[in-house]
Symmetry: C2
Subunit: 328 residues, 2 copies
């Protein structure tokens, strides 16, 4: 026996990847993995997207069952990247045409997707994911292999998820240049309701109130209005699909926002004072900046008893996860 | 008599300029005017700022009465650029030490400033202004002579304002690279409550709800949270001073936001539908983008009977104002 430390064996390649849905997120995953030399191919319902992806040199098809048969033959990791309402249909197709493939997704909610995976009988080979990246644009034309560089990619870490598939999903995230945060599905959904879906609700509210002021009001809109409404440039159907899929958590977050605003309005009316509101807002913005600036990857082994809880606890402290030296 | 059109005589120089308060806005005005060769000098209470401005080659002093005496001697346009709560004291000093100077300001509310000008007996020589530019930073170190390039500069156009001083204030705005929009004080205050102050209230709300989710939530914050909370990076006392000075209009805008959010929350709870919210938000964001993209300067003469109402009507249609050829 040597006393030398075990060699660092990174799981740095996700193996073959099959992406269903070649919009902004799915298309960017396909491009990144294929550009890095990994076997990667994709399906999209719309033939225009398939033609565009093919013209750009990527393997894409509008034949869902054929694409999934190829995934099964290759032992690919299937990545579901279609809008939330279509996920159950994708899972049903996977159950039929790719009966042994590992499966993940990139949808912005996790409980509803996990429930759909259960309905399709996929739970034992499914580990969800959510790359926290996006732009106001959408579609193949907006895809970018570097979209995920430095982004957070949440990987579903509910009790009982398969550690081998969990590591394969993290390998995909790392291959895309993202940092991995472990979270349970419900924790994830509460968090994204607050920091991703509520911003869309508030942006829509702000845009409407600016618009109600007419051309003078909109003409005066500058940096704070531009930033505060930016996400409303996105097609409303995409925003709807994302937010409605997380309705229970978004309801709570919206009610919290209403309570906060009522308290702020009453304080302004009764005392003329906005200090409490803005001090708290400033404090939490600085907390956000600080946690974004320090990326402390935490090495936690995947697989031993209780690993899911340990990784989730690290995620709750804001730590990202990385490969553990010596771990296969 | 010639049939040739009257020559274009732009009033392109504001003449000597005296800036009170050398923070982000005031300091940037001083730099821009001085860099363009115009006589310009400034006052700041804090000696560190005066030292920094002087070291950068600008004329700055911490002697308020001496600076105003110099403004009076030079026939300068005095620009009040101190925080809103200190404006009455500045006006009182101007009344005492610069008894004939034209006066403007760059504060983000106009009714309260106009009232303070009246209290100090300055109404006949005061025309307020509001450059719609800013960053999350503050202080002399953040000043930038190009801060106002392409920005909107609202110029107060209440009935009875002096047309010669109005044109001198617009000349300052144009010298700073901004576009001028004419508006009455109350119209301005309602508009900026919606598109400038409410964004700060909503950003503080969003930051707090993200923060309440702890480190996991903040760690997942990406583009929509970053943009939606950006203005909370500003020192909270500056935000307070700005918002509290516009309390009546901000109360109304905040109540509108609460009503909109309650309707959105109830629709999500009762029908699962967010379509109306996001379609309206998308529509008004596109209206904002469209009006920002098309800058149609409207030439309206300043001075003839009813000019204030005609310019305000143009502002309500979102038009900017420019010099009229042949006008002195």
């Amino acid at each position: 026996m040597s006393d030398a430390p075990a060699p660092f064996i990174p799981i740095d390649a996700p193996g073959p990847v099959c992406v269903l849905g070649l919009g902004l997120i799915g298309g960017s995953v396909l491009r990144r993995v294929a550009d890095a030399g990994g076997p990667a191919f994709g399906y999209n319902r719309g033939t225009a997207t398939v033609a565009a992806a093919t013209a750009d040199g990527y393997r894409a098809s509008d034949d869902l069952s054929g694409t999934l048969a190829a995934a099964e033959a290759a032992g690919a990791l299937v990545v579901v990247a279609t809008p939330a309402p279509t996920v159950p249909a994708m899972f049903a197709a996977i159950a039929e045409h790719a009966p042994t493939c590992a499966v993940t997704d990139v949808v912005s909610v996790k409980q509803e997707v996990a429930a759909a995976a259960a309905t399709a009988g996929l739970t034992h080979r499914f580990v969800g994911g959510h790359p926290m990246a996006g732009t106001a644009e959408s579609g193949w034309a907006a895809t970018d292999p570097d979209l995920f560089a430095g982004a957070i990619w949440v990987v579903q870490t509910d009790d009982g998820v398969d550690p081998a598939i969990w590591r394969r999903v993290t390998a995909l995230a790392h291959a895309c240049g993202a940092d991995v945060v472990a979270a349970a599905s419900d924790e994830h959904d509460r968090a994204v309701a607050a920091i991703s879906h509520l911003p869309h609700v508030l942006a829509a509210t702000l845009a409407q109130i600016g618009g109600a002021g007419g051309e003078l009001s909109l003409r005066l809109g500058a940096g704070s209005f531009r930033d505060g409404t930016r996400v409303m440039a996105t097609a409303p159907d995409l925003v709807r699909a994302m937010c409605e899929a997380n309705a229970p958590a978004l309801l709570d977050a919206t009610s919290e926002a209403i309570d906060t605003l009522i308290a702020a309005r009453d304080a302004l009316r009764d005392t003329g004072d906005t200090g409490a509101l803005f001090r708290a807002g400033h404090r939490d913005r600085l907390r956000f900046e600080a946690i974004t600036a320090r990326r402390v990857p935490l090495a936690e082994p995947v697989g031993p008893d209780g690993w899911e809880a340990r990784l989730r606890a690290a995620g709750r402290r804001g730590h990202t996860w990385r490969d553990v030296p010596g771990q296969v």
